[in-house]
Symmetry: C2
Subunit: 468 residues, 2 copies
C-alpha cells in the first residue's frame, strides 16, 4: 500500500476528487449497513467531517469486517465517488482495507451514545476523539496560530519569560513551590528553619503567575514583544472559570500610551474572532448546533461593533443608577468597589449591548505597576469586558516614573529585593509603555461556546486533579 495518504480535510475541501484513487487512514466512528453493503464513517482528526466508506461485504473477509467497530483504526484504499447521501459531496468505495487496531465494543468507552462532559473529563486521554473535543482543540490550535500571526505581522517579538521564578511579588500565597529538597527531611540551618541554600536554585522558587514584569524588560529593549506561555495559580477554586495551570498571552509595548493599548486590544481580539470565523467555520458550525445556539451570532456581534470606552467612575454611575431603578445585584456597587462578573455583564449585555473597555480604576484595587493619573486616585488600567464571560483582557499603561513606582511599591509592600531589576528599567532609559494580558482559555470559552474552562484545555489541572 504505497499510495500517498490523503487527509479527510483535503478530500472534503478538494475540488477535483471524484474519480480519484486514494488512501485514507483513520478511526471508525460508526459502522452500519445491511448484509450486502456496509457504511463506515471514518474520521482522521483533520476535520469534523467523516468520510463515508462504502464496503461491498462480499469482497472482504467476514472476520475482518466484524472487527471493524467504533474506535478501530483502519487503512483504506478505494475510489472516491460522488456521494449518494446528503451532507457530503464525496464518498469512498473500498478496494482494500487493512485493520491496524481494534477497539473492543465491550470496553471501549466512546460508544455512540452521548456522554456527559463530566464523564469525558475522566477520560481526557480519549476525549479528543469525540466531535466536540476535536472541534475545540482544532479551534485552540487556530487561535494560537492567529495570535502568532497577528503579532508577527505587526513586528512584535515572541519572548519566553521564565516559568520558574524566585520573585513572588504578584502572587503571594497563591504560588506553587518548586523544589528538589527531600520533603520528608529537608536540610535545616542552625535556627531550625529550612535551608534553601541546599535547594536546586539555592533559594526558594515558585511557578510564575505572570510573565509581565520580565516582558516589560524585553519591551524596553526590543520595542514590542508578547509572551504566550503557561502560568499558574495555586488557588483553591473549584469553579468553571478557574484552572491551576493555564496559558496567557501578554503583549508589552514600549512607547504605547493607554489609547494605543486599547486600540491594540480591540484590534487583536477582533482579529482572533475573525480568524475563527474564517478558518474554523465547520467546527464552529458544529459547536453552534450542538453546544451553544448563539455562538456564531455572538462572534459576529463582536466583529460588527466598536467597543465602548468608558471610565470606571462613569461605569459606577451607570450601575448605581440601575440599582436605583430596581436592578438587583448580589454584590454591592459603589465607587471604590471591584466589579463582579454580574456588574461587568450588566454593562455589556444590558446597558451598552456592546463590548466595553473600562478604564481608570481606583488605584487601591489595582497593581502597583499601573501608571498613576494626575487625580491621585485612579490608575490607567483597562479591562476589556465581553458578553457571557465578563473580563477577557486586563491591562494598563505602566508607571514609567521611578519615584512614583517606588512609592507605590513600598505602599503596597512589594519587596525591592524581588524587583530591583524591574526598577532598573525606570532608572535607565525609561519611556511610556503599556501592555495587557489575555487568558487563552477565557478566549476559548468565548470562541467555542463551551461553558466549563476544563473543557477547553487538553488536561486540566485543578484542586485534587493532575491526571494524565
Amino acid at each position: 500500500m504505497a499510495m500517498k495518504r490523503l487527509r479527510i480535510s483535503d478530500i472534503v475541501k478538494g475540488t477535483d476528487m471524484v474519480g480519484r484513487e486514494a488512501q485514507v487512514k483513520g478511526w471508525v466512528r460508526t459502522k452500519r449497513g445491511s448484509k450486502n453493503v456496509a457504511f463506515i464513517a471514518l474520521n482522521d482528526g483533520s476535520c469534523i467531517h467523516n468520510l463515508q466508506i462504502v464496503v461491498d461485504t462480499e469482497k472482504f473477509d467476514e472476520e475482518l469486517l466484524k472487527k471493524i467497530t467504533t474506535g478501530a483504526a483502519i487503512n483504506v484504499i478505494g475510489k472516491l465517488v460522488e456521494s449518494q447521501g446528503k451532507g457530503q459531496s464525496v464518498e469512498m468505495v473500498a478496494e482494500k482495507i487493512e485493520l491496524y487496531g481494534v477497539a473492543d465494543p465491550l470496553t471501549y468507552p466512546l460508544q455512540k451514545k452521548g456522554h456527559t462532559m463530566e464523564f469525558l473529563r475522566e477520560i481526557a486521554h480519549l476525549r479528543p476523539r469525540t466531535n466536540t473535543f476535536g472541534a475545540v482543540f482544532r479551534i485552540r490550535h487556530n487561535m494560537a496560530i492567529a495570535i502568532h500571526s497577528f503579532f508577527h505581522e505587526k513586528g512584535f517579538y515572541y519572548f519566553h519569560t521564565p516559568i520558574i521564578t524566585a520573585s513572588d511579588c504578584e502572587g503571594a500565597g497563591q504560588m506553587f513551590k518548586v523544589t528538589t529538597l527531600d520533603l520528608d527531611c529537608p536540610p535545616r540551618n542552625d535556627e531550625g528553619t529550612i535551608d534553601f541554600k541546599h535547594d536546586f536554585f539555592g533559594r526558594h522558587a515558585n511557578l510564575t503567575v505572570s510573565g509581565q514584569l520580565e516582558g516589560e524588560l524585553a519591551a524596553m529593549a526590543l520595542g514590542s514583544i508578547y509572551t504566550f506561555g503557561p502560568t499558574f495559580r495555586a488557588e483553591n477554586s473549584n469553579t468553571p472559570r478557574h484552572l491551576a495551570e493555564f496559558w496567557m498571552i501578554e503583549p508589552e509595548m514600549a512607547f504605547y500610551e493607554i489609547e494605543d493599548n486599547m486600540d491594540l486590544a480591540e484590534e487583536f481580539i477582533k482579529y482572533l474572532v475573525k480568524w475563527a470565523l474564517d478558518h474554523c467555520a465547520d467546527d464552529i458550525e458544529f459547536l453552534n448546533n450542538m453546544i451553544d445556539k448563539e455562538l456564531r451570532s455572538r462572534l459576529e456581534f463582536v466583529l460588527q461593533h466598536d467597543f465602548v470606552r468608558l471610565g470606571y467612575t462613569e461605569g459606577i454611575k451607570i450601575l448605581e443608577d440601575a440599582v436605583a431603578k430596581g436592578q438587583k445585584f448580589e454584590f454591592p456597587i459603589y465607587w471604590g468597589a471591584d466589579l463582579a462578573a454580574e456588574h461587568e455583564r450588566y454593562l455589556v449585555e444590558q446597558h451598552f449591548k456592546r463590548p466595553v473597555i473600562l478604564t481608570d480604576y481606583p488605584k487601591e484595587i489595582k497593581s502597583f505597576y499601573m501608571k498613576q493619573n494626575d487625580d491621585g486616585k485612579t490608575v490607567r488600567a483597562m479591562d476589556v469586558l465581553f458578553p457571557k464571560i465578563g473580563e477577557i483582557i486586563g491591562g494598563s499603561q505602566r508607571e514609567e516614573d521611578y519615584d512614583k513606582l517606588l512609592t507605590r511599591a513600598n505602599e503596597m509592600g512589594v519587596p525591592m529585593d524581588d524587583i530591583w531589576w524591574y526598577m532598573d528599567t525606570r532608572k535607565y532609559g525609561t519611556a511610556p509603555h503599556s501592555g495587557f494580558g489575555l487568558g487563552f482559555e477565557r478566549l476559548l470559552l468565548f470562541v467555542t461556546g463551551m461553558s466549563n474552562i476544563r473543557d477547553v484545555i487538553p488536561f486540566p489541572r485543578t484542586p485534587n486533579n493532575a491526571d494524565f
Copy 2:
C-alpha cells in the same frame, strides 16, 4: 507630537523614505560629534540597525543634549535624508527631540566598551539592549514563528500538554517537585510519612520532562500534532549545554512510520534554517561577523546536503574502523555503547561531512516506548546529528503493539499506575505512529552560533540561578 511613529526596521527596509517627515522613538546607543553637530545612533529594538540622528546643536537646548547619553530613551521628529556616511542609506535630521528617560553614565552598565558574556548574564534584564542579544532574541522569535508556520501549513495541530504532571515514568529522580504544602511542617499520616492527600493535587506532583506521552494521545485522535512548551530537568549539570528550564518541540504523527518520521525531521530542520537565512539575514550577518565566522556557511551547508541515513550498527563499524586507524576518542566505542558527542561529531564532521540520521539503536539504551525491530535487539529510534552541536533531534517510531509495549515497560520498571492512559491508546484503535523532539535552545545554538545555551534563552535557570 501626534505624527505616527515609524519603526527603524521599516525605515531601513523602506524604499521611499528620503524626504519624508518621520517620528522615531528608541534608545541611544552612542552620541558623538563636534561643537556644532551631534550624531546620535538610535536603536528601537526592531532590528540590528541604528538610525543616525543628525543634530544641529545650535537649535537645541544644551542641557537637553547633555542628558542624551548612551541608554537614554528619546522621541525624535525630523526629516529623513540620504545618508552621507557609509553602511546606511538614510539618516534623520532632527527637528524636535523629547527626552523620555536618562541613563546616568556613571551607573548605566551598558557603556560602549565590550562586555563578557558572563557579565551580561548577570544583567540579563538589560542584555536584550545589546546588539548580540537583540539579534539572538529576534532570531529566537523567528524560529518560533517558523515552527508554527511549518506545522500549520502541513495540517498539524498545536497541542498543549500539561506542565504539572503526577506521572514521572521518564524522569525519575531528575524532576522538580511542585507543592503547596508547608515545607517546614508538612502534614503527616499515621505512619509518619508526608500525607500528599493534603497537597494541592491530592498527590505528589512534578514538572514535566516531556510532553510526548500526552502528545501521542492527541495524535491518536487529531492525526498529526506538535507541542511547543517548556520542559524541566532537575539535573545538577553546570555545562554550556544544559538548562533546568528549556523549550521543546515535539511532533507526534499517527500513521507515520520511521521513514516518514525521518523525512519530516529533515524537511523541518531545513525549513527552519532556510527561514533564518531568509528572514534574519541582518542579524545572522552581525553574528557571523562578531561571534562565529563560520555561522552562515554552516547554515548553508545544511541546506545543500541530503542527510546521511545510517544504521547504528554501521555507525559503530565506522567508528571502530577509525579507532583501528588511530583516531582517539575519550570514551570507548563498541556495539551497545551510547554515542558520546565526540563520536557523533566524528561521523558528521569528519567521516560523512554531512548531517547524519542514525537509526536502529540497541533497545537497552533507548526508552520503553520505541518500536522494537524484528531482530529482538534494536528499536526504531532515530537521532539527527549535526555539525558542532551533535544530537539536535531524537525520535522514533512508537511501539503500537499493546503486548510488546507492556512487556518492555515492565522490563524497564515503568509503573502501570502512571501510564494506564497511555496504554489505552494501544488497546483502542492502535496504529503505527511516530514522533520526535527538538530542543529549541539546541536549535538556537546552531542558528545563532552562540556557544553557551544560557545565552540563547532570556532568563536561564541553572543550578543556583533563578534570577529575574
